[in-house]
Structures are given as C-alpha cells and as structure tokens.
C-alpha cells in the first residue's frame, strides 16, 4: 500500500514570490484520512501537487511507495497511485461525454479497451453516477460534476485520493454527497484520503488533521487534539468547527460537558442526561 514520505521539503515558485513551502516533513500512512487545513495561501495546494509529481521539490524529497518524485521514470506510476481531485469540476473534465471523461486516465495509462470499459463502469457505480454515463458534463449539477471528476480518478485505481478543496464550490447537498463517497471509499476500499478543506466540520471526520501556516506545518494531531483550543487555532486565521464553538460557549457558561466533544452526536450524548436531570 502506498505510503507518502515527505522529507525536509522546501519549494519556491520564483525568487520574487518567496518560499511557498518551508522544510516540511510528513508521513502519510496508508489507509488514513488526513485533513489539511490552513488559511488562504498557506501552501496546501502546493503541498498536494508535490504528492503526485505535479511539482518537484526545490530541496528535500517526496517519495511514494519508495519512488522518488524527482526520478522521472516513476512519474506516471506515481500519478496512477496518487490521484488529485481539484476545486473546480469544470476545469478538470476533459471530454464532452461523462463515460469518456472517466476513461481518460486509463486511456493515458494504456489500459486495454475492454478493461477501460470495465473500470469506467465500476468507477461510475462507486460515485452513483451510472445513470449519467452518456450525459454531457455541462448538463450536470456541481455535485454531480465533482463526482464525475472523482470517478475519473478512481478509474485509474489509485491508492491515495487527494481532494484539494473539492467541495469548496458545491452547495451543502453536493458537499455531503462528495463526503459520503470519500468516507465510503476509505472504509470499504481502504483508500488513503488526503482532504484539503476550508470547512473545519469536514476536518472533524478525519483520523488526523494538519494545520498549515505560511508554508509550514504548525499542528499535527487527531481532530480532538487540534480542535481542543480555540485561541490556538485562531492564531493561524482559522476557526473551530461549529460544534466545538458551541461546546466552548456551553463550558464557559458553566455547563458540564467533556472538553473534547466535536460532533453533534457527542454533544447530544453529553447534553441529554443533563436536560433530563433538570
């Protein structure tokens, strides 16, 4: 299984723009859901693009399953193993028919025709878009388009799926659709997921959360650890997830609930007995 190891990675776009990533070291374990959060321009996308050799380190190294991204013999293998879904679904769908777009990756990999058809069917089924196989992408909703984009990556049978703010342009319904698929892929296919997001409530479902600030990793831990303390997160221009904000306000007002509750369910569990007592 794919493991991404990043060692002392520094990246500079150009001399004027300064350092985009500074001395990043990080190991992404196979099978985990990793959320990356951070203020605009903190380097999240730049980091993601290093994970499948779209960008190459200025110094330091990135390896995927032991394959160094700097070695161009491995480039295609790495990109097959690590797929990225980008923010704007319109700008990553290449052709005018859904199923052909999903087949685009396998076509580039030189997969035989019958197998492409099989993979495309599977991928569309995984994102519940089989009924739209022959549709034109521009006739679909944002959430549907993003699911097609995910299918396009799945058809390459990757081991790591990176979502770079893939839900940012979607409405709440579309966001939920995408999140459900991602968690399903992780639990059923043991796919490693790297989820870059602006929404802290999405980061809560991850196994591990990384906070980036000015090209550096400033926090790395479970959601409970990272979102334990509001003032610390605010230093990096971020807010606590809504439920954690509610939790802190309740605690401030003297309600006795656990200091690490993060989800509606956890709050519910802590609050119901209190309400019944009173």
């Amino acid at each position: 299984m794919a493991e991404i190891v990043i060692k002392n990675l520094t990246y500079v776009y150009s001399d004027e723009s300064g350092v985009a990533l500074e001395d990043i070291s990080l190991t992404i374990n196979s099978g985990e859901i990793l959320a990356i959060v951070g203020h605009n321009g903190s380097g999240k996308s730049t980091l993601a693009k290093h994970m499948n050799a779209l960008l190459l380190p200025s110094s330091g190294s990135v390896t995927v399953d032991g394959m160094d991204t700097l070695n161009d013999e491995y480039t295609l293998d790495i990109r097959q193993k690590v797929g990225i879904v980008f923010q704007n679904p319109d700008n990553q769908i290449v052709t005018t028919v859904v199923e052909e777009d999903v087949g685009f990756g396998p076509e580039n990999m030189g997969v035989p025709t019958e197998e492409i058809i099989e993979r495309v069917g599977e991928a569309l089924k995984a994102v519940s878009m089989s009924d739209y196989a022959r549709s034109a992408p521009h006739m679909l909703s944002g959430g549907q388009k993003q699911r097609v984009a995910i299918a396009g990556v799945l058809a390459m049978r990757p081991e790591v799926l990176i979502l770079d703010e893939a839900t940012a342009m979607l409405d709440p319904k579309g966001r939920q659709e995408v999140l459900n698929i991602v968690t399903k892929l992780n639990s059923e296919l043991k796919m490693t997921v790297v989820m870059i997001t602006q929404y802290m409530e999405e980061a809560v479902i991850a196994d591990r959360v990384i906070v980036m600030h000015r090209g550096m990793i400033v926090k790395d831990g479970t959601p409970k650890e990272v979102f334990a303390n509001g003032s610390e997160i605010e230093k990096y221009g971020l807010e606590l997830p809504p439920m954690a904000q509610l939790r802190d306000e309740l605690i401030e007002n003297g309600v006795d609930i656990p200091k690490d509750a993060l989800t509606i369910e956890e709050l519910n569990e802590a609050l119901c007995p209190l309400l019944q007592k009173s």
Partner: protein, 269 residues
C-alpha cells in the same frame, strides 16, 4: 429543454446512416464533394439530388431539417446566382441595359452554380446531422493518423477540438454572466456606432480571456495529473471498427460515383 450546443446540428435517430463509422461518413462526404465538382452537365445533378434524397430517407432526418440547413446560406446563394447571371456572356442575348447583359449562357451558368452549391451544403449538412462532433473528431484523428509520420499533429489537433467542444458551453455561460454583471454596473452595450460598440466589448472580453487562461492552466494540470502525456502508448475506450454496413456504403457510393461519370462521358447531351 435547452438544446445541447455541443451537439451542433446533430439530430438523433436510430438509422443505419447514424450507425456508420465516422471515418466512412467523412470519406464518403469528401468523395461526394469531388463528384459534385466533377459534374459538368446540369441534368446529372438529378442523380446527386436523388442520392441525397435516398440518404435523407435512410437517415430518418426530416426533409424539412435538411432544407432548413440551407437557410443560413440564402444570401450567399442569391449573391452567387446574380453574379453568375451577368458574368458569363455566351449564347443569345435576351436583355441589355447599361453594362448588364443577360444571356442564355448566363442563366445556364447561374443555375448550374446554384445547384452545385445547394447540393454541397445539403451533403455536408447530412453528415453533421447524423454524426456527433465528438465522433467526427475521433474519425478525423484516425483518418489523419498516417500523417503523423511526416510530423502532422493529428492527435493534438483532435484533443484541441475535443477540449474546444467541452469548453464552448462553459465560456458561453461565462460571457453571459460577465455581460450581465457589466450591465448591472451600468455599462452601455447597445447604443452608439460600431466603434463605440466594439469598445464596450472590452470590459467583457478582458475578464473572459483572463478566465479562459486560468481555466487552461488548471485543465493542463488536471490532465497531467491523470497521466496525460500525448498519444504515446495511449489506448482508446471507444475503438472505431468498420462494420458490414460501412463496406456496403462504400460500395454503393462507388457505384453512384462511377455511373455518374460514365453517363457524363458517354452521353452526348
């Protein structure tokens, strides 16, 4: 429902013409164009017209659709007609006024050119009615593939056409949005002379171009991320295969082609 503009003129039916390989249709349309240009006797156009009629019936595309495809050409047709009417001066003079001279030869020539154009447009329209643009692109890529050896970018050309088809509706929608945004800021796009109107397009075109470049950049990144590296070692999901009906079509067309040319050369009138 909104008409899907990426389908162009495509008119979907389950006909045998629709199921022909795009390469067959491209080649035969090309052959048909050559035939039309080789015909030099007016009455032989009847064969071409009959051929078009038969193909139209087979394709199940309504005749009215095929005729409507001529509508955008009406001014060109009229212009060509009038031009030819007075250009050629042969035969009897029927009418003379100032520098204009109407001759029987002129009438003949004008009718001849008009028929030729009409048949050309109807023939090519039939191809676009029965083939989706994306199938045409695939067909073209395959047909031009041998030219890759001399450095002709067949694959790149087809990829560019595919991407263009994909982004036309997106950019149209976007230009619509930008226009509305500028109008709501009080931009005046309607009044004034041509120069003023052209100037008022600038605030629409500039953001459109900037966005198109950004999109191109992101798309290139997304394609690379999905292992795109030109057509080296690339397989296709949809393979074009010639079927029996393709060979029949070639055979039928060859018969028509040869008999029209034979008639033209053997008959004295």
């Amino acid at each position: 429902m909104m008409r899907d503009i990426t389908l162009g003129q495509y008119y979907n039916t389950d006909s045998v013409i629709h199921s022909l390989d795009p390469r067959t249709k491209l080649t035969l349309t090309f052959g048909y164009l050559i035939l039309i240009f080789l015909i030099s006797k007016m009455w032989l156009f009847a064969f071409a017209a009959a051929f078009i009629a038969v193909v139209t019936i087979l394709s199940k595309v309504p005749f009215s659709m095929v005729l409507r495809s001529l509508k955008p050409m009406r001014w060109l047709l009229l212009f060509m007609f009038v031009l030819n009417l007075f250009m050629s001066r042969s035969g009897e003079v029927l009418f003379k006024w100032w520098i204009f001279e109407l001759t029987t030869g002129g009438i003949r020539q004008a009718l001849f050119m008009t028929f030729r154009l009409l048949l050309l447009v109807m023939g090519t329209s039939l191809m676009t009615f029965t083939t989706t643009p994306i199938a045409l692109t695939d067909g073209l890529e395959k047909l031009l593939a041998p030219l890759k050896k001399i450095g002709f970018p067949a694959h790149e050309l087809a990829m560019m056409m595919t991407i263009a088809l994909r982004f036309i509706p997106i950019l149209l929608e976007e230009s619509d949005k930008i226009t509305k945004a500028q109008l709501s800021r009080g931009a005046d796009l309607e009044s004034g002379n041509i120069i003023k109107k052209a100037k008022s397009m600038v605030p629409i075109l500039v953001p459109l171009f900037i966005s198109a470049f950004r999109r191109a950049d992101e798309l290139a990144m997304a394609m690379e991320s999905r292992c795109y590296h030109g057509d080296e070692g690339r397989t296709r999901m949809r393979v074009l295969t010639l079927k029996k009906c393709d060979f029949t079509a070639f055979l039928v067309f060859a018969l028509v082609f040869v008999s029209v040319l034979l008639l033209q050369n053997l008959m004295a009138f």
